[in-house]
């Protein structure tokens, strides 16, 4: 009898062993042992963001008495980890959500509708960049419209601006570009040519006018030439228009015809980014997240509007990342409060802004910040102009997934190398992208119907 019991015990231990594995991963929600409330916050970011958030969260805990368990991941691992936590029914109470995946998280019931709680919390949404707030509104069919229900608040908005190496232009005796009047494309190419030289006389060019990355810089060129990726209601891919082709061709020509960039094979971001920081490149994009690093460089730089390819005016994109609340959180009020805190609390915003990694989410605060005397870069106002005035959402920000959009980049190398014309390539790509967009729209409809 006793042995039977022992065997049963061994079996139980074996089973329990496997069960405790799942039990162990079930930490993080609910009350901690001491009876204090604890919520989990999962995000991704570098050391600057981590430090800034730790300060912001500390203040939240002091104010509310609610503890926050922070989970930080690498940028690469975030999506995987979040999806695993959803599959494991262990979603963090508060977490980052991307514009492009918002719809699938909403239709799958992972994200909580926080419209009412945010309104009740007394947050003045009008004082937050409307682009940032509207990005996380979704009415069941369209995302990014002011009427939809709110599913997240912006962690930040990232107006992607353009900068120039002031020290280099001054040394070359080139008049500095105007901060209000965008350069025409010809002017931009002309200055770039003057900057592309061999400075030490060893026969090899070691300073270039610019060095752009097609994935992040083509948008500005296409939009300023009157082209776009899709039609207004995001049902038709319009990359095969002459405006689009001209912009892409001009992008490739910078390297192959004008020869004002390092060679095409070096255009991978890392290389031109490193060269810009080494002071070898005249014009380069600047995002708010770059400022803390760029301010430490050996040269002065400032911001200008993006050069315009056509006559549709200067244009660029605004990135954004949202902070949402899990639909299954046990502490909805506290979780929403943490979101409003991270997104809109003035002190918390100041911590983040002081770290030089983002512009303030609060409009009035941003205006003060932009007007600051002796700030670097001096023309901080450009970030605000983009946020308020001429910035746009990324082409795939509000579609159900970005696969159709990524397709354009997959086979683009021959165009950048000058082996294929932009028009030919885009004519080939349009049907492929259209098929993927159709698929994504069909999935979105299915998901909305299934809800």
């Amino acid at each position: 009898m006793k042995k039977n019991r022992l065997i049963a015990g061994a079996l139980c231990a074996a089973v329990a062993g496997t069960l405790t594995l799942t039990a162990c991963s079930d930490g993080g929600d609910g009350a901690s042992d001491s009876g204090e409330k604890e919520i989990t916050f999962m995000f991704r970011g570098g050391p600057d963001e981590k430090a800034a958030y730790e300060a912001a969260i500390k203040k939240y805990t002091e104010d509310t008495g609610v503890k926050v368990k922070v989970i930080v991941t690498d940028a690469d691992q975030y999506a995987t980890k979040l999806q695993a936590s959803v599959a494991g029914n262990n979603v963090p109470d508060v977490f980052y959500v991307e514009q492009a995946t918002l719809q699938s998280y909403v239709s799958s019931g992972v994200l909580m509708d926080i419209t009412e709680q945010v309104e009740a919390s007394g947050v003045d949404l009008d004082n937050i960049w409307s682009y940032g707030v509207d990005s996380y509104r979704f009415d069941g069919t369209l995302q990014g419209t002011p009427e939809g229900a709110l599913y997240a608040l912006p962690k930040d908005i990232g107006p992607f601006s353009f900068g120039y190496n002031k020290t280099m232009l001054e040394a070359a005796g080139i008049p500095l570009p105007d901060k209000d009047e965008p350069l025409t494309w010809d002017q931009f190419v002309d200055i770039s040519k003057q900057l592309t030289v061999d400075t030490d006389g060893d026969g090899a060019i070691d300073q270039w006018g610019t060095g752009l990355n097609v994935q992040w810089n083509l948008q500005s060129m296409v939009w300023s030439n009157g082209g776009d990726w899709t039609n207004e209601d995001r049902t038709e891919v319009t990359v095969d228009t002459p405006e689009f082709a001209e912009a892409l061709q001009k992008f490739a020509d910078l390297t192959n015809v004008e020869k004002v960039t390092p060679s095409a094979s070096d255009a991978a971001t890392l290389d031109t980014y490193q060269r810009w920081m080494a002071g070898e490149i005249g014009f380069f994009p600047v995002g708010p997240w770059d400022v803390s690093v760029y301010n430490e460089l050996d040269f002065d730089y400032d911001l200008i509007p993006w050069p315009a390819v056509g006559d549709a005016g200067t244009a660029t994109w605004i990135g954004s990342l949202g902070i949402g609340v899990s639909a299954t959180t046990k502490h909805p009020e506290d979780a929403v409060k943490l979101v409003t805190y991270l997104s809109t609390d003035a002190d918390a915003q100041q911590t983040l802004v002081d770290a030089n990694i983002q512009i303030p989410n609060l409009v009035d605060m941003a205006e003060t910040w932009a007007a600051e005397e002796g700030a670097e870069p001096a023309n901080r106002q450009e970030f605000l102009d983009i946020a308020q005035d001429y910035g746009r959402a990324m082409p795939a920000a509000f579609t159900y997934g970005a696969e159709w959009y990524d397709e354009l980049w997959t086979n683009i190398q021959p165009v950048l190398d000058g082996e294929q014309t932009a028009a030919d390539y885009l004519a080939e790509e349009q049907p492929k992208m259209q098929a993927l967009l159709d698929e994504s729209n069909a999935t979105a409809e299915q998901a909305a119907a299934g809800k």
Partner: protein, 318 residues
Amino acid sequence: MTQTADVAPPTTGRRSKAAARPGGGTHRLHRSEHRWALAFVAAPIIGFLLFTLYPIGFAVYASLTSWNGLGPMTFVGLENYVTLFQDEYFRIALYNTFFYMLGIPIGLALSLVLALALNRRIPGRTAFRAIYYVPVISSLAAIAIVWQFAYNGDFGLINQVLAWFGIDGPDWLQNTATVKPAIIIMAIWKGLGYSMLLYLAAIQGVPASLYEAAALDGANAWQRFRSITLPMVRPVTFFLVVTSIIAGSQIFTEINIMTPAGGPEFSSASVVWYIFRKAFKYQQMGYATTMAVVLGLLVFAITLIQFRINRRNDFSID
């Protein structure tokens, strides 16, 4: 009732074994041993059921659904499989994955040569063995980042070395023609130490008498290698081929780190990299699972064929 057994289990146990033998396992204690054995066997079996069989069954079901990995699954039958056979990117990824396997025979040949060399009494032998083994125990992610720098077209180590010999090296990872060979070279380097170690052990396990007999018969060094060493390390070669192909079909980390976008024109994307992208970037978990199931079946079939071939060869040796 069970008192006697409890008081002195070792002695009774030993005695009972002897006594039970003619009786044919009907003794109560013998039965209890069986039960214990079952209990111990149960642990891995339950583990297998929970962590292998159940996930496989789940994957097969998921491959028949449209599922974003978050919400409910919608059953769509074989639709994903139909899509898969028309998916040009899957075909390219499959081709790339098999292309990477070209590195396996090269790596095995190199590691056998190394093992032979390090089996001799050369100075610094221990140091060399350690040096070749270091990449095996290093983190693959860290190695991939280091090699990514080494392959850089402008200031990478590889092209600097090539420049000494007047060769203008390509931008390895940005070029459709060189990205796969570049990754193969890295994978060979990384795996060399492991295969070498196994070969070294196998070579040292070959009885010296065989070599002596062969030497007496007048066999030269090459003949001894061909007719003794090579056949004697065959089991290790077989083991390495099988495991390398299984591991090679799952190549992912180095691809994802060295060419995050799948290489120029999808030229470095492997099947698992494509699965990962579909599942976690585009929320097409159902379709990604379909690809995983197909990949699993392919690997299973290949391994089965290998075992068949190996068995046939065994007979011919005997």
